[in-house]
Each structure stands twice: as C-alpha cells, then as structure tokens.
C-alpha cells in the first residue's frame, strides 16, 4: 500500500506533534499547578489544553492539507505523552486521540468541493472541528470515570451538576441550564481555537512567504 503522506508531510506532522507536546509539558504542567480542578469547575485544565492543542493541530492541517493529518498529529502527541512526559496518562492519551478524530470528522463534514470554496470555508471548518474536539472534554469525564475509575455515569452527572450549580450560583434542579452552560462554554472555546488556528496559520504562511521573497 502506498503511503498518502510525503516526507515533508510527515516531518510537518512531527513538528506540530512536538509543538503540542512541548506545550503539554510546559504550559500544561503550569496550568495544573495554578488551576486545581476545584478552582475551575466549568472550564478544567483539560478543556484549555485541548483548545491549545487544537490550535496547534489545526495550524498543522493548513500545512499538511490531507485528511488524517490532525489524527496523525494527535497520535504523535499521545505516543510522546506515553513515552516522555512523566509517566503514562492513559486517560489523557485516549482523550487526545478521540478529540483529533472528532476534529477530523468536523473537517470532513465541513469540506466543500472546489479550491476557492474550500479556502473560503476553511475558517468555518476549523471552528466546527475545534468545537467538536473541545466538546469531548465534557463527555470524557463520564467516559474516563466509568472506564478507569468504575464510577457510574449517574454519579459523575450528579457531581458535574453540583459543581456547575456552585459555579453558576443556581440550584441543581436547573440541570438543563447547567449542562447547557458546560456545553456552550466548550463550543465557544473550541470555536475560538479554530478561529485562532486559521488566523495564526495565515500569519505563519505570510511570514514564510515573505521570508522566501526576501531570500530571492
């Protein structure tokens, strides 16, 4: 079977995977220290790091415009996380892979035929992909608690409602409002990550093009 990625594609995948990895080591560790889970009930460090990772992975998509590149970047990060970042964090590794799969799904669903239309819809597609990826951080709580800790989904749901009600200052009876707040925050953060990726990616491309012209 012939591989779809060229050597340049694979190196760029590695570059963006390593960039995300560096951010996980430095920025992620710092965030875990300054934002303990109790202090951030609505937006956890996981949500912030997913958004940061999505910015990097989606910029990577601009430079490796092939289906599967975001997933490959996620796999590289997951393997780096397993091998080099202070012990294996299976839950985080699975989260990264699922988020990248969801981002790929978002990019696939928002793709449009024709280069011009594809370019015009890129920002929208990136925002949609970011939303889907960051939304997973909410569902990952249920998934990880059930799979790794053996806690019931209903128990986790009650815990989330309790934290949410405390953060929003409303009764736990307003369950729909609390869950909607959780999801809305993630949609906004994910959309922002996609927008930022598109913006930064264009700036990077412009800088590289300028440098190329200056060299000529």
């Amino acid at each position: 079977m012939k591989t779809r990625f060229t050597t340049r594609d694979l190196v760029y995948i590695a570059v963006f995977g390593a960039l995300w990895g560096v951010l996980e080591i430095t920025f992620g560790s710092y965030l875990h220290l300054i934002f303990p889970p109790i202090a951030t009930p609505l937006v956890g460090v996981g949500t912030i790091m997913t958004a940061v990772g999505m910015v990097v992975a989606l910029i990577g998509r601009l430079f490796v415009p092939r289906a599967g590149s975001v997933l490959m970047i996620g796999l590289v990060v997951a393997i780096l996380k397993a091998l080099s970042m202070g012990g294996v964090k299976l839950s985080a590794m699975i989260a990264i892979i699922i988020e990248c799969l969801l981002a790929e799904l978002g990019l696939f669903l928002s793709r449009k035929p024709g280069l011009r239309r594809a370019q015009s819809s890129r920002r929208g597609g990136f925002m949609f992909a970011g939303c889907l990826a960051v939304l997973w951080t909410f569902f990952h709580k249920f998934f990880a608690s059930y799979i790794f800790l053996g806690r019931g989904i209903y128990e986790v749901y009650l815990g989330i409602l309790k934290k949410g009600s405390q953060a929003l200052g409303i009764e736990t009876g307003y369950a729909l409002v609390i869950v909607a707040a959780y999801l809305l925050i993630r949609i906004v953060v994910g959309g922002l990550a996609g927008w930022l990726a598109s913006d930064l990616g264009r700036a990077v491309r412009a800088r590289l093009t300028q440098a190329e012209r200056d060299r000529e």
Binding site: T7, R8, M72, I79, A82, F148, V204
Partner: protein, 228 residues
C-alpha cells in the same frame, strides 16, 4: 533477554485494561496482583512509578476522599460524616486505576517507541514511526527555540504594550522557527533517500511464548469473570 515479543506485551496490556474495567469489587485485587507479579517478573522497570510519592498521593487521595464524596454518610469520625459505601468504592477505584497504570507503564518500558510506532503502522498509519522519531528528537530543540524567541521579545520590551499582539507574534515566530527546523529535517531525510512508503522491518509474528501467554491470560480472565 526478552521472553515475550511485542504481541505478548500487547496482550498483557489489553488484558489488564479490559479486566480492570470488567472486574468488580474484590476481583480487582486479583487483577492488580497478576499485574504486579507479571511486571516484577518480566519488566521490573515498569514498577518505577510505585517509588514516586506523588503516585501514592493520588492513590491515597482516591481512597481517603471517597468516603466524603460518594454514598450516604453512615459513620461519624471526629464529627465528620463518612460513607462506608464511599470507602469501598474509593478503594476499588484506586486498585483499578493502579492496575491499569502499572500495566500501561510496564508496556511503555517493555516495548520500544519503534515497536509501538510499527504497531500503528500495521494498523494502516504508515509513516507514524518516522513522525514519532522526528518529533521525539525535535522536543528539546523546539523547547529551546521557543524559550529563545520569548526571551528575545521580552528583552526588546515586546510584552510591555499590546500584550495580545506580542503574544500572537511570539506564537507565529515559534511556529515559523519550528517549520524551518522541519525543512532542514526534510532535506536531511531526502538526502538519505528516505521514502515513507519504503520497505520497513515488520514486527515479528507472535512467538510460542506470546501464544502461551495469550492462552493463560484468556483462561485467567474467563475464570476471574466467571467466578461467582
């Protein structure tokens, strides 16, 4: 010398994760016991996390906090309401997490990055091994170039005004530097005639020891789950 191949260790990892999920209450002790005995026998380095205090802090916190957070309070200790159900739930939770963490840690110690990458390549993700290798080597370089870019901007007073704009410029500079470094790697790889679709050494097929281990794991797992 390694007794088992990649397939044997992979089977052990899958077994520990699946049994960790499916085994209920006291059965988790057997799963954990097997994971510890297997790890100590075949890859003692995989038990390194056990020596770290923060590892035990996480385990202890799950056991100690659960009586306060899970279940109805049916005990009182120094005026604090505790739940017996919460204690047991916390204990099983901690043991389950412990067995999975040790199995994954052991797998990472026993199987090299190259073998893991080849496993992914066998699953159709060609070129992943090369990408992981490059990323692994790039980590320290990228960290250093990011730090240099930050210091250079800070020394020029970049963060004193318009901090968001400065941050954007810093991020762009970091990505541009990373891509330039990437271009150097591409040139080096192409100079050595590297091809992503070129012939690569495949993983060895499962050996007798791997197959025997799989049989033992299946029998043990089935017995544990069928045990009343």
């Amino acid at each position: 010398m390694r007794i088992f191949g990649t397939w044997g260790y992979l089977a052990f990892l899958v077994w520990a994760i699946v049994l960790g999920m499916l085994a209920t209450e006291a059965r988790v002790i057997f799963v954990l016991g097997f994971v510890i005995v297997f790890s100590a026998s075949f890859f003692p380095s995989g038990l390194k996390p056990v020596r770290r205090p923060e590892f035990w802090f996480l385990v202890a916190s799950a056991v100690l906090l659960s009586p306060f957070l899970i279940g109805e309070k049916d005990l009182s200790l120094f005026g604090l309401g505790l739940s017996r159900q919460g204690f047991w739930a916390g204990l099983w939770m901690a043991l389950r997490a412990l067995s999975m963490a040790l199995a994954v840690g052991g797998f990472a110690y026993a199987v090299s990055a190259d073998e893991i990458a080849r496993l992914f390549e066998m699953a159709g993700l060609k070129g992943l091994g090369f990408a992981v290798g490059v990323a692994f080597n790039l980590l320290p370089t990228l960290e250093e170039t990011a730090r240099n870019a930050y210091q250079a901007m800070r020394l020029r007073g970049g963060f004193q005004r318009e901090r968001l704009r400065a941050l954007r410029m810093l991020l762009v500079a970091i990505v541009v530097n990373a891509l330039r470094r990437g271009d150097e790697v591409v040139e080096a790889a192409e100079a050595r005639a590297f091809r992503p679709d070129g012939p690569r050494q495949a993983l060895l097929p499962p050996g007798r020891a791997d197959l025997a281990l799989v049989a033992v794991l299946i029998a043990l797992g089935a017995g544990l789950l069928a045990w009343p």
